[in-house]
Amino acid sequence: MDQQSDARLIEIPLQSLDCTECVARVLVRKSTWQQTSIQWTEEALEACRERPATRCGERPKDRFIGCESLRHEIREATNDGRLNVVYRTDSETEPDRPTVS
């Protein structure tokens, strides 16, 4: 439902990306260089090697904030063009028109 109604995701959907450190496959979307959305599945979470090795608790600051290995792979994939960036531009002030893949 959310995917159907969110015009942002209709124009530029999330893309599949594999983590290089484990077999986790997630869906990723970047609207700008700085913005990243990651959709995990239960299988991907189980595959993540970093999370079980991180000391986590229940309180807000103790919770698992994210996988650094995946973050690194997203950065690489963005740099070499495997991941679309909706506003892929050199300047924040002059955004390109979004390109639909």
């Binding site: 015009a7 209709i10 700008t32 260089w33 913005q35 919770r63």
Partner: protein, 371 residues
């Protein structure tokens, strides 16, 4: 779907699916136990029902529907067989006259009273307990200073504050350097790192030599209505650690009670009285919500908002929120699977281009060295 405009010339119509037909499943805070001691037993309206809250002699609270004959001082009726097995006060440890109406599951901690609401009548779900507000060292903190207001508002609007990046950009005139939402299972978290949020500003900072320069905040909703925010106010000479609690419970379909509680960690650097500081922050937070509440009162429910790329993950938050309004058996992975939305402006744009193969990767967990 015919309500979604797919081309530039199509007209996009507002979709209003109407308010949910039930109240959220989960722990809801009803306020400090102290409040219920002041007028014992207390009658209140919540979840569209009349509730009676009674504080027993041993300090345990009992929450039951209006027909609770004991709480209302009526002649004990013939409802002895209606006690639910999960009544964690009467069912387990008390030899009270079995005249009480079905009891709501109750949780008492940190001086607060919670009741579990579930339209299906099931006991509290495993793994959904509320964490302690102060963690393992409550002695290092002031008491929670508690305020409450009654609002005409949709609980969803209150909860959606967690994803409201537009507030930072347009209302507070500053941008977080780091903003992140994580939804997973019954918990929704917001990370905020950046210039001071206006509503949190410390009144003394304006006049005092200490300058408040930075805020670090991690806030989690545990279930549909109870949020703990761990806040660091970074000053030029010292930090203030605070905990902000935001909670609400519905009175009926149109009205809710909103709580703000603030606690501050004792510190010798903190010039002002910590309890006074907490009280001031609590009042300010509630005032901030009061301001937000004005548009809520006029707001039309829009179930298909048109968002720009700078807006937060509103649809994903609503998808997470749905899990509290459907039957437990109908909870779907799309509601509970982990989702992350991150905005990180700490890396300059030109760095992006040079960062390939040079990004340091945390080696503490994977053993991987930066390439």
């Amino acid at each position: 779907m015919d309500n979604v405009a797919t081309g530039p010339d199509e007209i996009r119509h507002i979709v209003n699916n109407g308010a949910p037909t039930r109240f959220a499943r989960g722990w809801h805070c009803l306020g400090p136990v102290q409040k219920f001691l002041a007028q014992n037993p207390t009658q209140l309206r919540a979840f569209g029902q009349d509730l009676a809250i009674e504080v027993l002699a041993d300090g345990h609270c009992v929450a039951s529907n209006e027909r609770c004959s004991l709480s209302l001082g009526q002649d004990p009726g013939a409802q002895s067989e209606t006690i639910e097995p999960f009544c964690n006060v009467h069912g387990a440890e008390h030899s009270m006259p079995t005249t009480l109406a079905p009891c709501w599951p109750v949780l008492q901690q940190d001086g607060l009273l919670f009741i579990w609401h579930d339209a299906e009548g099931a006991p509290p779900r495993a793994g959904q307990s509320i964490p302690r507000v102060h963690g393992t060292s409550p002695e290092q903190w002031t008491d929670l200073v508690w305020n409450e207001i009654t609002l005409k508002a949709d609980p969803r609007d209150v909860v959606e504050h967690l994803v409201d990046t537009a507030t930072f950009f347009y209302e507070s005139s500053n941008r977080p350097t780091f903003f992140k939402n994580v939804f997973e299972n019954h918990v929704a978290t917001q990370y905020f790192d950046g210039p001071m949020r206006r509503e949190y500003s410390h009144h003394a900072a304006e006049a005092a030599p200490e300058k408040l320069i930075w805020t670090n905040s991690v806030a989690s909703y545990f279930g549909p209505s109870f949020m703990i925010d761990e806040l660091d106010y970074v000053h030029d000479r010292y930090d203030i650690n605070a905990i902000l609690v935001t909670a609400h419970y519905p009175i009926d379909e149109h009205t809710l009670v909103l709580f703000c509680g603030v606690s501050v960690k004792h510190s010798k650097e903190l010039g002002s009285d910590p309890q006074e500081f907490a009280a001031d922050q609590s009042a300010r937070m509630l005032h901030g919500f009061g301001t937000d509440a004005e548009p809520w009162q006029q707001k039309t429910r829009v179930d298909n908002p048109l968002l720009c790329e700078e807006d937060g993950p509103v649809y994903q938050m609503r998808r997470w929120y749905e899990q509290f309004f459907c039957d437990a058996a109908d909870i779907e992975p799309r509601m509970t699977d982990r989702f992350e939305y991150e905005m990180d402006t700490t890396m300059p744009l030109d760095m992006w281009k040079r960062s390939l193969a040079r990004t340091p990767v945390s080696s503490k967990t994977t053993g991987k060295q930066p390439v």
